[in-house]
Symmetry: C2
Subunit: 82 residues, 2 copies
């Protein structure tokens, strides 16, 4: 069994209204020191697999096909055997 | 300047319809090896601060007050000086 921690983030050039809203909220709460907020997705995926290489290939494909939108998002992940 | 990477996840006992939907989507795409998916939020926060201890305190407060719902969510973060 493998556990993948997947991070999906907007590409740096893409506008991030959700992050801007969170920054505004933090400023309103008195956290004036906040310069920038970027919002992304975090997924924990448990999957069966024979070896790490094939699990890695599977997770890469999942990200490319469903979890991230390659036009506007980047992804990275960590894979650990459990 | 500090960069905080904040991970907000649902508590293990909380139902996660978003994760279940993603798992269903992955199964439909042929990724039958996926056992479980848990969906969370990932935030990158850039903030000014004098020292790491005070930045850490600030980010903890942000999580408690705005970024996570303490009733159903857990949070953790990594802080790095940039």
């Amino acid at each position: 069994m493998f556990r993948a921690r997947v991070y999906v983030t907007l590409k740096p050039t893409v506008n991030d209204p959700q992050g801007l809203t969170i920054r505004g909220g933090l400023h309103s709460l008195g956290f004036e020191s906040v310069e920038d907020v970027r919002a992304g997705k975090y997924l924990e995926i448990t999957l069966e697999g024979d070896d790490k290489a094939s699990a890695e290939k599977q997770v890469t494909e999942m990200c490319q096909k469903l979890l991230a939108n390659p036009v506007i998002e980047d992804f990275r992940f960590e894979l650990r055997e459990t």
